[in-house]
Amino acid sequence: MKDTLPLLSVRNLQLVIPTDEGTAKILDRVTFEVAEGEVVGLVGESGCGKSTLIKAILGILPNQAEIVSGEIKFGGLDLLGSATRRTWHAAKDIGFIPQDPFTALNPVFKVGVQMMEILRWSGLPGEPPGYIGGNTRQRHREHLIKMLKAVQIPDPEDAFERYPHQFSGGQRQRILIASALSSRPKLIVADEPTTALDVTTQREILILLRELIEDDKTSMLLVTHDFGVVAQMCDSVSVMYAGQTMENGTAKDIIHTPIHPYTKRLLACHPELSDEIVGIPGTVPSPIFAPPGCRFGPRCTSCRPACSEQRPPLMKPVGGQRDVACVLLDQGVRV
């Protein structure tokens, strides 16, 4: 999308997991980029492989998972090169915010202890990860308490010594955000960070997150299935369906002038963003029995015979600022 080298780029990522019933083709040539300082929304229905993609980026795929082709590059570093374990360099520069603040923290350890552990293995800028000699611990502690203050946890010194169950869900998510940002990463990866929270808390957390990353010009990959969140938070969007990238573009373009039929249908599910409200008939196919060609074909009203033979490649419309994988777009440049 931009001319400079992107911070994170995922290209043609194809990932399968063998199961008893057959091979699950979970990701099929996923492609998108996150530029420096950019917030990218990763949108798609439940079960379309968003969390699996996140795991691939973080290097925590299950052992059976197999990368068939494609690459994930982070600041020029090949994240798939180091097998499933992420390299120290990447651990330091990628912060992670999980989906469910209620289960992400270990119930029998103090919040402070758990934050210290995470910061220890990422380190503050300039520190080698894992090192806790000298006055490192003291420095980390002070830094984390400052972070807790920044995410508006009341009485942070005291909060440091408390256990997870002594905080509300919203507070726990704030703690996890503080933890993710504590090593000053270049990229934050957030897997539906607010779905477990009520609507009001959701809004507050998103506003806070937005403010915090804007201050540091941190990039963010924000997984969501909510276009409302995209409109509020994101610069760009990547739309995924059943493991396939359907459309990438700026948030404005995607929301106001979607091209791909799936994006259109997805937007139509949001009353505040669309005039006609309709769901999408049918369900996401299982990755084991995914239809050949474009996986959205069976649910698509514009489906042509060619769609089920071969998947249309991601194309850039002439002069456009986005990528679309659809036969409707017959003129364009292959990405």
């Binding site: 925590i60 651990a91 992670f96 119930p107 029998v108 758990q114 552990e117 995470i118 293995w121 256990y163």
Partner: protein, 333 residues
């Protein structure tokens, strides 16, 4: 916390009372008659009657029990009908041996069981895991007395690594008594040759006593750890870059030993009853062998006293387990 402990200790008294009533009733219903045994083999009916009168055994059972309770409430556990020594003295002399044996077994159970269980879970379905599972099954299947005899045969008689029986060589003077636990006393008095001997003597009985419980602890730790490894907080720590070995120890381990600690508390009961068998086979001078002798001679004061002591120990251990629980898991506080 303090209030909780006090409440638990107070709740001990009704438990002990119930225990006494039950044991007393069982002894009363048992077919053996202490007076007959006391009077000796060739005693006449009159002799037996005289003995019965002397020990108050001719009174109604509830009067006997009432008298006994009155004695106990002032800390007097009575006199052994067999040796004529105060029961309390005998117990004070023999209890440390049993406690030492039980504690060493408990430590073996905890360390061995938790280590095995953890390794089985971390290297799930690997050869190490198969060994863990084999030991777990063996621990359930093997009878204590058989294991004891096998250990004696192999490690004491054939290999000669350990003595067959006893707590210390007969010719040796026991270390100066401070706690009554030879291992501890010999270290405190810097008597290292006594320490070595004490270790050699306690090894086989302690392993025998610990084996079944060790297997149980290993099984519980393993399954609890396997369950905890699938928890969200594990994948969260993993995702943030915490190395796997750090995630296991201390994080997953602390969650997993909660069930193991419960088991250890429960197992302590079977440890004391197991001690009865082990002490007989290894000639260990504790209250287990004392109790067996008392049962053979219908020495009911001794039987009742040992029941009280074991009951109190068992209840105390369970209080300790609850305290440890609250220490491990903040949600219980």
């Amino acid at each position: 916390m303090l209030e909780f402990i006090c409440r638990r200790i107070l709740s001990l008294f009704p438990v002990i009372l119930g225990l006494l009533v039950l044991t007393y009733a069982l002894l009363y219903l048992a077919p053996s008659d202490p007076a007959t045994i006391l009077a000796g083999e060739n005693a006449s009916v009159e002799d037996i009657q005289a003995v019965r009168k002397e020990y108050g055994l001719d009174r109604p059972v509830y009067v006997q029990f009432g008298m006994y309770l009155k004695q106990v409430s002032v800390g007097n556990l009575g006199v052994s009908m067999y040796s004529n020594r105060p029961v309390l003295e005998d117990i004070a002399q023999r209890l440390p041996a049993t406690i030492e044996l039980a504690l060493v077994s408990l430590v073996l159970m905890a360390i061995g069981g938790i280590t095995l269980g953890t390794m089985g879970a971390v290297w799930h379905n690997s050869p190490i895991d198969h060994v863990t599972r084999m030991i777990s099954v063996a621990g359930l299947a093997i009878a204590t007395f058989w294991l004891a005899i096998m250990l004696q045969l192999v490690f004491a008689m054939v290999l000669g690594w350990f003595p067959v029986r006893g707590r210390i060589p007969p010719e040796m003077v026991p270390p100066v008594q401070i706690t009554g636990l030879y291992l501890l006393d010999s270290i405190l008095t810097l008597n290292f040759s006594a320490f070595r001997d004490a270790v050699r003597h306690i090894t086989l009985p302690a392993i025998t006593l610990a084996f079944g419980g060790l297997a149980t602890v290993a099984r519980f730790t393993r399954s609890s750890m396997l369950e905890n490894l699938t928890k969200e907080y594990v994948s969260y720590q993993h995702a943030t870059g915490v190395p796997f070995r750090r995630i296991i120890v201390p994080y997953v381990l602390r969650n997993s030993v909660i069930t193991a600690v419960t088991q250890l508390g429960l197992l302590f009961g079977s440890l004391i009853s197991g001690a009865v068998v082990v002490e007989m086979i290894f000639d260990w001078p504790g209250i287990g062998s004392y109790l067996v002798n008392a049962i053979f001679t219908s020495d009911y004061k001794v039987i009742l006293a040992v029941t009280i002591v074991v009951g109190v120990i068992y209840a105390l251990v369970n209080i300790i387990v609850d305290v440890i629980h609250a220490m491990i898991d903040p949600r219980l506080r």
